[in-house]
Symmetry: D2
Subunit: 140 residues, 4 copies
Amino acid sequence: MFTYKTQIRLHDTDAAGLIFFANQFKIIHDAYELLLEKFGFSFPQMLTGEKYFLPIVHAESDYKAPLFVGDKITIAIKVGHIGTSSFSFEYIIRNAKKALVGTAKTVHVTINPKTGKKTPLPFSLHQALKKYARNKGTRT
Amino acid sequence: MFTYKTQIRLHDTDAAGLIFFANQFKIIHDAYELLLEKFGFSFPQMLTGEKYFLPIVHAESDYKAPLFVGDKITIAIKVGHIGTSSFSFEYIIRNAKKALVGTAKTVHVTINPKTGKKTPLPFSLHQALKKYARNKGTRT
Amino acid sequence: MFTYKTQIRLHDTDAAGLIFFANQFKIIHDAYELLLEKFGFSFPQMLTGEKYFLPIVHAESDYKAPLFVGDKITIAIKVGHIGTSSFSFEYIIRNAKKALVGTAKTVHVTINPKTGKKTPLPFSLHQALKKYARNKGTRT
Amino acid sequence: MFTYKTQIRLHDTDAAGLIFFANQFKIIHDAYELLLEKFGFSFPQMLTGEKYFLPIVHAESDYKAPLFVGDKITIAIKVGHIGTSSFSFEYIIRNAKKALVGTAKTVHVTINPKTGKKTPLPFSLHQALKKYARNKGTRT
């Protein structure tokens, strides 16, 4: 399973002393960008290629334990579903003690930037997602 | 119903040309802060009073239509549920043409900052939420 | 003088309890976007028109007094210099008691998006800046 | 010299397609947090210890070349000045081709959180800064 390691930064927190809830979404997107890059679908290419966009149409997060500045976290990504023109990722966030601190989910659709309409997932992305989904769970 | 008007800023967007999904969460929280202030529960007081925190334990968002820099939006807030030590808000986001562009939900619990455990909603907040819930829908 | 009123939001702060320094730059840019809009140079038009960009090549901020969540601030903008292909703005930030809490400066250049090179300020923007600069100081 | 490697994320960019200027300040602060941690002055300790704060009283940035999503950058930190109750850091940002893309500077003062007044730099921080300043230029 793909994992991304990072650390909570001061700008991720707010005056309540913990991570600001919306910043958990920012951090999981960092992990998502790296996974897509690993698949060979980097954002620079997608944005300049203009063949398809992958906007998020739904996102959700659960917060299980507080995260402070300096906390080291690991984000694991699992494939949720793979559809014709959509897919979803699930994120499991653990702290340095491997305790679950949060989970999240993002649902993406493939959009043709010219028409603004749904378009089938590119074949290579579909294959990469399926391959990744098959191998999931082998390692945390 | 409480509504909050704002405008998409350049820093809300990303290189794909639209609002970055996590920033919709930031914007609904701005609306939430103002509603709580209207209830008489301002963040400065809560954070310095240290009697209870209201962390978000779940958040979700749906994205119905793209939002660009400069777009004027209106966020309406409805009470979802009111529990013993939790409540939820639902957010309806419309653009200048009153078209639905997104929805969101946040679930909050009341935490005693000293123990880190759940504590009942303060009576006055419970009353404010119930009163607001009763009047909801009378005005957009 | 153009002034922009806003309020420090929870997501502007960090775990030290005050505004995170970089967010003062975000907030002055909000004011800048509104001033440009008032001049008739809105970001949506600039970004889709693709005739010129106005990137910031230098920015600086001074922090005179702490800002907490909920603090109401007013940002006044003055024109610094107006050059052939550049201009600068100066920002004066005051709290609800009209005390100076910060200042900032941004230097912008006009870039032709096709060549990536400097290009003269559009005549109408040059005129708007000169007119605004003449009238500055009449009102705080 | 301490260097920090990172990558421009989608949320660092805006609809103009490049990094949003204020986010360069966020990224240099990430580097600063890691350097302080290396010195043995982690933010969690400082914020809970409450012996002194190190607020930024001045910050500035120059932008030399555009940064896109996915761009890999390296930030080197040099000590600017070391005073009785203040110090400054200078940041040099290079892209993957080692070209200079930006510079920045932050000026910090030591504040006693109880009085809100300046207090001398802790001896150990003063020593760490001096040692780091002496070794600068050896470069990694």
